[in-house]
Symmetry: C2
Subunit: 337 residues, 2 copies
């Protein structure tokens, strides 16, 4: 099994992608195919003293989708771009999963365009693991869509549950529906309708979840429309930055506190790491016909490594097959109803 | 000028309400009317050695709206409840503003029911000041509504701007529209339509704001529908708690860090204070015919004090008159268009 890595996407590509693939090979014996300009990638590899050569291969792709490119246009026109070629490897069965830290729009579009949707899935969704005191809460959709209907949200719940089980190892994921109040009567029109669908489903649905339940980890998977999820994801990122910045300001204002800060530095670093997206190895685009991991644009080598390992897990656990089966069952139930 | 304080509402009522009113009187010479059971309130006051007696009066109200009460039912039936009587004092011109830390639903309903809406305002909104490294960003609507239309959001922008000027002292508030991307083409249907209304308005509209812009303070006022705002408000509260809890765990795991923590304790406390809702003195319910401040259920004496001072400022600055004028102008423009 090999993982296709778009080695040209992301702020720190290609170096971070190459190093990440090497780390995944060394630490977990996961094999990667680095997709991009071979002379650049060989140059990066040649700088490494030693790496597991049998686990790292290169697939030539002459073009690159840039951040400024219009995703839909770029994916259609740049057929020889690293992101399109990497997805094609999955489609052709040469790779078990694809990872990209390039433009989220281009990564989504390429997977949708090349891999297609799983039969019966109306809208794919991005699932993001958010840190909590006890682990993570998976939030989806974190921004693949701007608008959703109740059936989309039910499918997000099904897919999120499968991802939490298969990749995050949560045995019986509890699902919450994001709302403006715990009570069943709370919510906008979308949430009120979706609540009923969840109640009738065979998911472990705990009811409405409030904003506070996300960081506190009251459930394992929280479902919302892509607009709300995207706002929250970016808010969480901004709030973590703001708190650490404000903490620094407060500490730097006092000589005694500066001394104290030296002593708690390792603890603070561990805390920061828990809010560091690189720890969580990217966010799967659930609903496309293959494992597709979208990594943060700022991904470093560790982030690529973790994304590669997570993608390999998803493939080993046959996450796509499980989603396919669950959606077929859902459609049969709907036909019978 | 006197501020009506629902002295029976909130987790720490009546003590916190009474002490808050006394602090506001001592520190800023703001006069309050404590509304509630007079024997209970007199008992609280009698325990104080000294307080500015001319600035603290009591208004009898025999009933209390409980947290378990249905807001709409309770406000209609409990006419002699502290929250209804406090709002009636504003309606009758005996108080310049009302403050309650009781059930948010009851506080909103009482103000809507007793004070009514400002002519031309379709939907009142709760405006929440969120802490940022440079001050605050006002988010509205933070939960008065579950669903809104573009015209509601435009009115929120107008009211939020007036509140930011009059009460928070921001000379020329910059307004952002919360969306899932900066570009004008990003957003759900509601946001796409609202964007155009804002562009045509005479507000200082900076375009779409993303989730990250809220905690980082890129604009002074951020407008969104009440569902999204409520989710974010509760998420922010949960995330601040989660980060402080995780920090404690990391520090307690190391003896050296524990020593360091003692040294940075005052800095951390200042940081925590910046995320403490009691610092910001409650959230105005904008759009009702009178100054109505809704305080956090956990309000302590300081929170009540700050809410009373903020309410007095809003009254002194004629916030309601300014909203009334702005809405009349908006309606005239719409008639002319």
């Amino acid at each position: 099994m090999r993982i296709a890595v778009d080695a040209m996407g992301g702020d720190h590509a290609p170096k971070a992608a190459v190093l990440g693939a090497v780390l995944a090979a060394k630490e977990k014996q996961v094999a990667s195919i680095l997709v991009g300009k071979s002379e650049v990638l060989n140059q990066e590899l040649s700088q490494l003293e030693d790496y597991p050569r049998d686990l790292i291969t290169i697939k030539e792709a002459r073009e690159v989708v840039e951040m400024c490119d219009q995703p839909a246009v770029a994916v259609r026109k740049k057929r020889d771009s690293s992101i399109v070629v990497a997805n094609t490897l999955v489609k052709d069965g040469e790779a078990a999963a694809v990872i990209s830290a390039g433009s989220t729009g281009a990564a989504m579009t390429a997977s949708l365009f090349v891999l297609g949707r799983i039969r019966g899935i109306a809208r794919p969704a991005i699932a993001i693991p958010l840190p909590t005191p006890n682990g993570v809460t998976v939030l989806l959709d974190a921004g693949a869509n701007a608008e959703n209907d109740p059936r989309d949200l039910l499918q997000f719940g099904i897919m999120g549950s499968i991802y939490a089980k298969a990749v995050l190892g949560i045995a019986a994921p509890k699902i919450g529906l994001l709302s403006n109040g715990e009570e069943e009567t709370k919510g906008n029109k979308l949430v009120l309708e979706t609540h009923q669908l969840f109640k009738e489903s065979n998911l472990d649905f705990i009811g409405n979840a409030e904003g506070i339940d996300l960081p506190m980890g009251r459930c394992d998977v929280v479902v919302c429309d892509g607009f709300t999820g995207n706002v929250i994801l970016k808010f969480a990122e901004g709030m973590a930055s703001a708190i650490f910045q404000m903490m620094k300001e407060e500490i730097m204002g006092s000589a005694v506190a500066k001394m104290g800060a030296l002593l708690i530095k390792p603890s603070l670093q561990r805390l920061k790491n828990r809010f560091d997206y690189s720890e969580y190895g990217g966010a799967p685009l659930l609903g496309v016909n293959g494992v597709s991991m979208i990594s943060h644009g700022r991904s470093d080598a560790k982030a690529f490594k973790n994304a590669i390992i997570a993608a390999a897990n998803a493939a080993k656990q046959d996450m796509i097959g499980k989603i396919r089966t669950a959606v077929e069952e859902l459609n049969q139930e709907e036909d019978n109803a």
